[in-house]
C-alpha cells in the first residue's frame, strides 16, 4: 500500500506499507549477502535469497534462464535481460508476473490492466545501460510513469549514487539500490554528491571503511532529497547537483525541452522561494508555464493606456521593494496612475504585469543581478515583450529601465525612455513623472475603483483562464493591497492571498467558477466531511494542478472548495490519498 505524502515534480515522498513493514519513500534497497554488510538504518534489503532479518526484503529471482524458487516479502519476477541495442525483442511467455516486475524494451504486457493490480513495483530493465544515454533514460522513465500511473512504484536498479539521487527522484524514481556504490567502494572510490574522490589515508585500502563512508553519503543525500521533495524545492536542488555531471545536465535539458507537458502537469502552481542561478532554471517548467500563461491567458486591464516598463527588484513582491516604492511614487505624482500599466522586465520570467506580481513564481524567484544579461535571457524578454505588445494595445510605451534598457528599447517602436543610468535617481524619477503627465492630457482619468477591479479581473483570468472574469461580475473590492477581498452584495466571493499568490475562493466564488465549468472536481452525490480523497473523485478539469483552487461538485451542485493536493490526472486515476484539502464546505 502506497501513501504519498508530498509530491514535487515527478518525485514523491511517502510511506509504502507491506505487511508489518513501513518503508519511507524514496527508498534505497541495500544489497544483503554474507560478504557485504548493510547499514544499520537500512529499511529495505535486496537479496537473491530469503534473508533472516526483520527488515522488508526485495528478492530477485534472476532471469528466465535460471529463475530461483526463492520468494520473499516482495519478489522480482524473472526477466530476460536483452541489451537495449537489440531493439524491441520478442519475449518468451513466462509465468504470471506479480509483486515486482522488470519492464523491458518492447514488452508492454506488464502494463495491461489485468496484471497491474498484482504489481507493486515496476523495475526499469537495462537502467544501467542508460548510464550512457541520458535522453533515452528520461524517455523511458517518462514512458514508465505514464504507463503505470501513480499507484505503483518505479525502481531504478543499479544506477544511483549520491550525485544523481536527486535527479532520479525528480524524474519519478521511487526505489533505488546500493549496487553501484558497492562497486565504487570496491574500486576504492569515495562517492559524494560532487562526484568521486580518492579515499583519505586512513580509509585507503579498506573496502569496509570506504563502503561505510559511501553508505553514509548515500543516506545523507537521501535525507536531503526527501527534505527537498517535502519542501517543494527539489527542482533547485537538482539544478545544483546536475552541474557535477554532463549526464545530469543532458537529462535535465532533455526532460525540460521534450517532456515539458509531462513535467508541467506535475508541477505545483505554488511553491517556496527559489534561486534561478543556472542556465537550466530558465527552463523550469513552472517558469515556462508562467510565460505560456502570460501569452495564452493574460489580458491587460482595459483602462490602462500607457505601458510602463520597469526593472525587477531583488525584494519580492516587487512593490514592497525600495526601488519600486520610488517608481510608484513617481507614477502617482503624475496624477494619472490609473492609466498606467506597470510591467516588469525580468529574467527568467520575461515580463510580469504589476497585478500578477504575487502569482508564483513572480514573488518567489531570485536571480544573481549583475546587469549583464545573457543572450538567452535577452531573447526571453524580447520574445515575451513582443508577443505581449502584439496582444495588448497601448497608446504609449514608456521604458524606465536600467541595464535592460538597450535591448528592450531596441525592439520597441515609438516609445519614451525616461531613464538614463540608475532608474531610481531623483532626476530619472522626476523625468518619469513629467513624461507620464505630459502624455496624459488627451486621456480621460479613470476612477481608482474601476482600475482596482480591472486588475483583479486580470488575476482571475490568469488563475482560472478564460471565463475567470465571472468572479468580477457586480462585485466590489475591499481591503488594502495585498489583502484584497472580493464582495458581492456583502458576501465574500474570494480573496487574494499573498502566501499562495492567488485568489482563494469561498463557496460563493466556487459557485461562480462552477457555472463556467472551470477547475471543477466531480464527485458522487455525497457531502465531503473532512478533506476529499482520490477514491471519491470521479473526474476533474484537466487544468487542475497541485496547489490550485478546486471546486468540488456533484453534477452542477457545488459541495466544497479547497486547494488541490494532486493534479487532475492523479486524483482521477488514484484510489488513495488526499486529493483536495477543503477550505469551505456546504453545511449539511
Amino acid at each position: 500500500m502506497l501513501d504519498i505524502g508530498k509530491r514535487c515534480a515527478l518525485a514523491r515522498s511517502g510511506i509504502w506499507s507491506s505487511d508489518d513493514h513501513q518503508i519511507r519513500l524514496p527508498a534505497i534497497a541495500f544489497v544483503h549477502n554474507d560478504r557485504i554488510s548493510t547499514p544499520e538504518s537500512a529499511e529495505l534489503l535486496l537479496s537473491k535469497n530469503k534473508v533472516n532479518s526483520s527488515k522488508l526484503t526485495l528478492i530477485d529471482r534472476g532471469s528466465v534462464f535460471l529463475p530461483s524458487d526463492e520468494r520473499g516479502d516482495i519478489t522480482i519476477s524473472p526477466d530476460l535481460p536483452y541489451p537495449l541495442s537489440l531493439g524491441e525483442m520478442e519475449y518468451p511467455e513466462g509465468e504470471e508476473k506479480t509483486g515486482a516486475v522488470v519492464v523491458q524494451k518492447g514488452d508492454d504486457n506488464v502494463f495491461q490492466e489485468s496484471s497491474r493490480k498484482e504489481i507493486q513495483i515496476y523495475v526499469m530493465g537495462n537502467a544501467i545501460e542508460f548510464i550512457r544515454h541520458p535522453k533515452e533514460f528520461v524517455d523511458e522513465v517518462v514512458r514508465l510513469r505514464q504507463a503505470i500511473g501513480y499507484g505503483s512504484m518505479i525502481y531504478l536498479p543499479g544506477i544511483v549514487d549520491p550525485s544523481n539521487l536527486a535527479i532520479l527522484c525528480y524524474c519519478g524514481g521511487d526505489i533505488f539500490d546500493s549496487t553501484r556504490i558497492i562497486w565504487e567502494s570496491r574500486s576504492g572510490h569515495v562517492v559524494s554528491p560532487e562526484g568521486r574522490w580518492p579515499p583519505s589515508d586512513s580509509e585507503a585500502g579498506s573496502f569496509t571503511k570506504i563502503l561505510n563512508k559511501n553508505y553514509a553519503a548515500m543516506q545523507d543525500e537521501l535525507y536531503k532529497t526527501t527534505h527537498h521533495i517535502r519542501n517543494g524545492s527539489l527542482r533547485e536542488f537538482v539544478e545544483k547537483r546536475a552541474v557535477h555531471d554532463p549526464w545530469m545536465i543532458a537529462a535535465l535539458r532533455h526532460f525540460d525541452l521534450v517532456h515539458y507537458d509531462h513535467q508541467e502537469l506535475h508541477f505545483s502552481v505554488t511553491g517556496p522561494n527559489f534561486h534561478a542561478n543556472t542556465k537550466e532554471s530558465l527552463h523550469r517548467p513552472d517558469v515556462v508555464r508562467y510565460r505560456k500563461r502570460i501569452r495564452e491567458r493574460y489580458r491587460k486591464p482595459p483602462s490602462a493606456k500607457m505601458l510602463l516598463l520597469l526593472p525587477c527588484s531583488a525584494k519580492k513582491p516587487y512593490s514592497m521593494s525600495r526601488s519600486h516604492s520610488l517608481f510608484r511614487r513617481a507614477v502617482k505624482d503624475s496624477g494619472v496612475q490609473h492609466l498606467v500599466h506597470e510591467v516588469m522586465v525580468t529574467s527568467p520570467l520575461g515580463i510580469v504585469p504589476r497585478e500578477l506580481e504575487l502569482f508564483f513564481p513572480a514573488q518567489n524567484y531570485d536571480i544573481p543581478v549583475t546587469g549583464h544579461w545573457s543572450k538567452d535571457e535577452i531573447s526571453i524578454v524580447q520574445e515575451d515583450l513582443l508577443n505581449f505588445l502584439g496582444k495588448n494595445a497601448y497608446e504609449h510605451v514608456v521604458a524606465h529601465l536600467g541595464s535592460e534598457k538597450d535591448f528592450v528599447c531596441d525592439i520597441l517602436d515609438d516609445h519614451y525612455s525616461t531613464s538614463n543610468g540608475n532608474p531610481t535617481s531623483a532626476k530619472n524619477l522626476s523625468g518619469l513623472t513629467e513624461t507620464l503627465s505630459s502624455l496624459t492630457n488627451q486621456n480621460s482619468k479613470v476612477p481608482r475603483g474601476q482600475r482596482l477591479s480591472e486588475d483583479m479581473t486580470s488575476r482571475c483570468v490568469y488563475q482560472f483562464g478564460n471565463g475567470g472574469e465571472v468572479l468580477m461580475e457586480s462585485v466590489e473590492i475591499k481591503g488594502r493591497y495585498p489583502n484584497l477581498k472580493i464582495f458581492s452584495n456583502g458576501i465574500q466571493i474570494g480573496m487574494l492571498v499573498q502566501e499562495r499568490g492567488m485568489i482563494s475562493l469561498t463557496l460563493d466564488g466556487a459557485e461562480r467558477i462552477s457555472q463556467k465549468d472551470l477547475y471543477c472536481v466531480q464527485i458522487d452525490d455525497f457531502q465531503p466531511e473532512g478533506n476529499l480523497f482520490a477514491v471519491g473523485v470521479e473526474g476533474a478539469d484537466e487544468e487542475l494542478r497541485t496547489g490550485d483552487d478546486a471546486v468540488i461538485r456533484y453534477e452542477k451542485d457545488v459541495r466544497a472548495v479547497g486547494s488541490a493536493v494532486m493534479n487532475w490526472k492523479e486524483m482521477t486515476e488514484s484510489h488513495r490519498g488526499e486529493a483536495v484539502r477543503i477550505r469551505h464546505r456546504k453545511k449539511a
Binding site: K48, F65, E90, P92, P157, G158, W183, E184
Partner: protein
C-alpha cells in the same frame, strides 16, 4: 518485434582460403587411459556448418574458416597434409567448422578414407558433430573403422531456454540425449562441450548453468569440456561485446565450475580459447597466466584443486557474482560503471 535469430548478423561470404589447405594443425596434451599423451589436432576446411548457413549460433564465428567449394577430394588432400606432420601422437582430433558426420560437408567416402588413415596411426580419434547427423548407420560404420572413436557434441547447455533464447542452437537437450544414446549404443565414447557464459546470462548464472548442465549429463557423457565463449568475428557476441554489453567469462568462474563438478563422474576439462585475452575468458593481467595454467593442469589430471590460486581481482569477480543480477541486465558492468 524482433526474434533473437533476426539479431544474428548475416554470415559473410566465405573467405577464399586455399581449398586444399587445412585451417590449422597443432599438437597438444590430452589424457588417454589416465596418462598424459600428445594429441594431433587438425581443423579441416570444409563447406561449413549447415546450421551456420541458416542463421547459426550467437557466439559462433567458425564460418570464417570455410570454403564453399571444398569437396571430398580437397578435404582428403588437406587431411593427408596434416597427417604427414604426425610424429607418434596417440590421439587425433579431426575437426571441421561444422559437423564431421554431415555428409554434405564431408562425403561419406571421404569420411571413410579419413577414418581409415586415422585408425592406422592413432589409438583414439575424436570427431565433432551436431546431434542431427548422429545416425545408427553413420556411427556403426565409423566405429567399425576406429575402435577408439569419441564423438564430441556441442550441447553448450542442458537448459532449453538457454539453447533457444541465448544461443539459438537449433536443437534441444532432448535431441542431444537421443544422439548420445546412439553413440553409446554403437560403442563410441562421448565428449560434451558446455558453453561457459552464453549471451544474456550473468556471471553467476553462467556458473550455475554450466554446473546444472554437467549434473544433468553426468551419466551420459564420458568427458565434459568447458568452453568459455570467446569473442569471434562477425558474431552477435562480438557486436554486443564491442558495445560493452557482453564480457567473456572470468577464469575464476571456470575454476568455480571445475570445483563444483569435482567427483561428478565424467572427466572435466577446459582449454579456454583466447584465454587471458580481451576476447577470451580472462581475470586480470596479474593472474591470467597462473589461472590458465591451473586449469590446464587440472584438465590433465595434474592437480585436484585450485586452493593455491589467489589474486586481488577475486573480490571484484565475487562482486560481479553478487551484484550483476540486481542490475536486471547482462551487460559488462565494469565497462558501464567505469
Amino acid at each position: 518485434m524482433t526474434k533473437l535469430e533476426d539479431c544474428i548478423p548475416e554470415k559473410r561470404v566465405f573467405p577464399k582460403g586455399d581449398v586444399n589447405k587445412y585451417v590449422s594443425c597443432w599438437t597438444e596434451k590430452d589424457v588417454l587411459g589416465g596418462e598424459v599423451v600428445d594429441a594431433l589436432v587438425v581443423i579441416l576446411r570444409t563447406s561449413g556448418c549447415s546450421w551456420a548457413r541458416k542463421k547459426g549460433c550467437t557466439m559462433c564465428g567458425y564460418f570464417n574458416d570455410c570454403h564453399p567449394d571444398a569437396d571430398g577430394e580437397n578435404i582428403l588432400h588437406q587431411f593427408g597434409k596434416a597427417v604427414e606432420k604426425s610424429n607418434g601422437q596417440t590421439m587425433l582430433k579431426v575437426f571441421t567448422s561444422g559437423s564431421f558426420l554431415d555428409e554434405r560437408e564431408i562425403p561419406r567416402e571421404t569420411r571413410a578414407d579419413i577414418l581409415d588413415i586415422a585408425s592406422e596411426r592413432f589409438k583414439q580419434v575424436i570427431v565433432e558433430t551436431r546431434p542431427q547427423y548422429v545416425t545408427e548407420e553413420s556411427l556403426k560404420e565409423s566405429v567399425s573403422q576406429v575402435a577408439g572413436l569419441q564423438v564430441a557434441l556441442g550441447l553448450e547447455s542442458a537448459n532449453d531456454m538457454v539453447l533457444k533464447h541465448s544461443i539459438n542452437k537449433g536443437f534441444t537437450y532432448d535431441d542431444y540425449l537421443k544422439a548420445a544414446g546412439v553413440i553409446k549404443q554403437a560403442g563410441a565414447t562421448i565428449k560434451t562441450y558446455l558453453l561457459v557464459k552464453p549471451l544474456f546470462l550473468t556471471e553467476n548464472e553462467a556458473i550455475r548453468d554450466a554446473v546444472n548442465s554437467a549434473n544433468q549429463i553426468k551419466g551420459v557423457t564420458d568427458v565434459i569440456s568447458l568452453n568459455p565463449v570467446n569473442v569471434q568475428k562477425g558474431t552477435l557476441v562480438e557486436r554486443l561485446w564491442r558495445r560493452g554489453e557482453y564480457r567473456p567469462t572470468w577464469l575464476w568462474s571456470v575454476v568455480r565450475i571445475m570445483e563444483e563438478c569435482q567427483g561428478l563422474g565424467p572427466r572435466i576439462i577446459s582449454s579456454p580459447t583466447g584465454g587471458g585475452k580481451k576476447r577470451g575468458a580472462h581475470n586480470c593481467p596479474v593472474c591470467d597466466a597462473d589461472v590458465l595454467k591451473g586449469i590446464a593442469e587440472y584438465s590433465l589430471g595434474q592437480r585436484n584443486d585450485f586452493g593455491d590460486l589467489e589474486c586481488g581481482c577475486r573480490e571484484r569477480w565475487m562482486d560481479t557474482l553478487d551484484l550483476q543480477g540486481f542490475t536486471q541486465s547482462s551487460i559488462d558492468i565494469q565497462r558501464y560503471y567505469g
